[in-house]
């Protein structure tokens, strides 16, 4: 047998050969059929964008980290998500379009690979963007559709974790936590460090009610019972989440939902509900999304919007893990 001649490729990238590609193509096709049947038209945006355009959407250009220069010295960036490019596209190309606008995409996105995390720096996303449809109706449409699409793809046990990206910020404001103290609490929450969060909150000399809410809420997840509270600022802050859950429940998707008051998503543009998709066979989220009512305004078209992106390779991994569990005759 001839010996392979190895030439390196960048860390976090990989080649895909026909067996894998065949399965990924079949998976994408099933997802696309569900998206298309619901009226979502497929779009494609360039993989490279002007960095200052991405920064309009998110101060950190949504975490874009691969940069290059064009011939005139302008900074280009490989997109790290497709939501910001689609916000740009909607502002530029759909000035007179009737709303809501339903778009979907199947495209690669790029983020730096972190060693040891088994993470790809180039990954394939399948996503939806629903523009011009406010909460909770738009959120419910997107969440129900992504659950259906995964059913069609062949998963059966997937669930959606549903939280509110603005909940903790609003609680900090309504309990009068000084502005200067808020970033350290939000940072602990974003790192899922509940021990550090409790330590910092205890150092703030707040009322017992405020202390218990700020420490206890991020650990609350489960069914609709976790939304019950007598504490007024908390009750008000949970209104959006309650409306979204009730509408999902009315559509028959209630048992697919895990309410999660500590859910955080790394991108900064979310303004309302945020969610992640899980499958019990794998220990990582398959994708996620949320409501971003201010993003399109930054591109000159103030419109409410909501979207979701699935990591197609992670969905593929979950499908194989489910198959293996089924073959072993075990269920978790």
């Amino acid at each position: 047998m001839a010996e392979a001649v190895i030439h390196p490729i960048p860390p976090g990238t990989r080649d895909m050969l026909p067996d894998e590609m065949r399965e990924l193509a079949a998976l994408n096709e099933r997802l696309h059929a569900v998206f298309a049947a619901a009226g979502y038209g497929e779009v494609r945006t360039p993989a490279i964008e002007y960095e200052d355009v991405l920064r309009r959407g998110d101060d950190r250009a949504a975490g874009a980290s691969f940069r290059l220069f064009d011939g005139s010295g302008r900074v280009l960036a490989l997109r790290s998500d497709t939501t910001i490019p689609i916000a740009r596209l909607v502002a530029s190309r759909y000035a007179d379009a009737p709303m809501p606008l339903r778009l979907c995409y199947f495209d690669n996105a790029y983020r730096p690979a972190q060693p040891g995390r088994g993470q790809a720096s180039e990954f394939m996303q399948a996503g939806l963007e629903l523009v011009g449809s406010p909460a909770p109706g738009g959120d419910v449409e997107v969440i129900a559709l992504v659950l259906d699409a995964l059913d069609a793809a062949g998963l059966g046990r997937h669930r959606v974790g549903l939280g509110d990206g603005s909940l903790y910020r609003r609680l900090l404001a309504s309990f009068g936590v000084p502005e200067g103290e808020r970033p350290v609490l939000l940072d602990a929450l974003s790192r899922r460090d509940l021990v550090g969060l409790a330590t910092h909150v205890d150092g703030l000399s707040l009322s017992r009610t405020a202390r218990d809410a700020l420490v206890g809420l991020p650990a609350l997840r489960g069914g609709p019972e976790i939304l019950a509270t007598d504490v007024e600022p908390v009750h008000a802050a949970l209104a959006g989440l309650r409306a979204c859950y009730e509408a999902l429940d009315a559509r028959g998707a209630g048992d697919r939902v895990i309410l999660d008051l500590g859910l955080v998503r790394e991108l900064g543009y979310y303004t309302g509900v945020v969610f992640e998709i899980y499958d019990p066979a794998v220990g990582f989220a398959l994708g996620g999304g949320g409501r971003y009512d201010e993003l399109l305004g930054r591109f000159g078209r103030p419109l409410p919007a909501c979207g979701v992106a699935l990591d197609v390779q992670r969905v593929h991994t979950a499908m194989l893990a489910e198959e293996r569990l089924a073959a072993r005759g075990t269920s978790e």
């Binding site: 040891g116 460090d193 489960g222 220990g283 990582f284």
Partner: protein, 216 residues
């Protein structure tokens, strides 16, 4: 009795091992097989898998274990791990310190005359962050074992290491110059298990609290 309904917990061998097994005993987990068999690693009946402490976040992040127990030092050294830190278990208390040879000012001298200090450590990221945060330039030398001998042999000016009693440092004529972090054992959880097995995890956390962990 297992750690909890269908839960698998990653247990660190090494200095946290005994205290962790004592905690599991108080939770009515049968640890007799784990105590009697130090070559076996996976105990399906008890829902326990044992490993070195620095591997615990890896297994938990990837969902191979739902929960894990490891030192805060390990978590600080692996900040990119996506795991929930649920509880400070209170035991295994030790300090991450900067230490140097007794009565020797080579750290200050190196900083003054060479602009940088050489630091040996098994915790390169904690060490690099500490010197960066305190505005000093440092050249971090990663070693895998017995870091105490690094300053004695002239490899470095100082070390960053974990110490509980300070005895090993003293035996090697080293003294603590700065304390970087207080570290204790922590209970961590996989983010997906934290949602999908919420009831079992919350139940276990409540039992750990009742069994005498420090409330966060």
């Amino acid at each position: 009795m297992t750690a909890g309904e269908g839960l698998r917990i990653a247990v660190p061998r090494g200095s946290l091992f005994e205290d962790t097994l004592d905690l599991l005993d108080r939770l009515d987990v049968d640890t007799s097989e784990i105590r009697s068999n130090d070559r076996k690693l996976l105990f399906e009946d008890a829902g326990v898998v044992t490993m070195r402490p620095s591997d615990v976040p890896t297994y938990v992040q990837h969902g191979a274990a739902d929960l894990g127990i490891t030192g805060k030092d390990v978590l600080l050294e692996q900040p990119e791990r996506e795991v929930y830190e649920l509880l400070d278990l209170g035991y295994g208390r030790c300090q991450m310190v900067v230490a140097a040879r007794e009565g020797d000012d080579s750290v200050a001298e190196s900083l003054r005359r060479l602009g940088t200090v050489r630091v040996a450590t098994k915790y390169p990221r904690i060490a690099a962050r500490h010197f960066a945060d305190t505005g000093r330039q440092a050249e971090i030398v990663e070693v895998k074992g017995s870091v105490e001998i690094a300053p004695l042999t002239g490899l470095v000016d100082s070390i960053v290491d974990l110490t509980a009693t300070g005895r090993t440092l003293a035996e090697n004529h080293l003294e603590i110059r700065e304390t970087i972090h207080e570290c204790t054992a922590r209970l961590i959880a996989n983010p997906v298990a934290h949602k999908l097995k919420a009831r079992a995890i919350d139940d276990l956390v409540a039992r750990v609290r009742a069994a005498g962990a420090e409330d966060p």
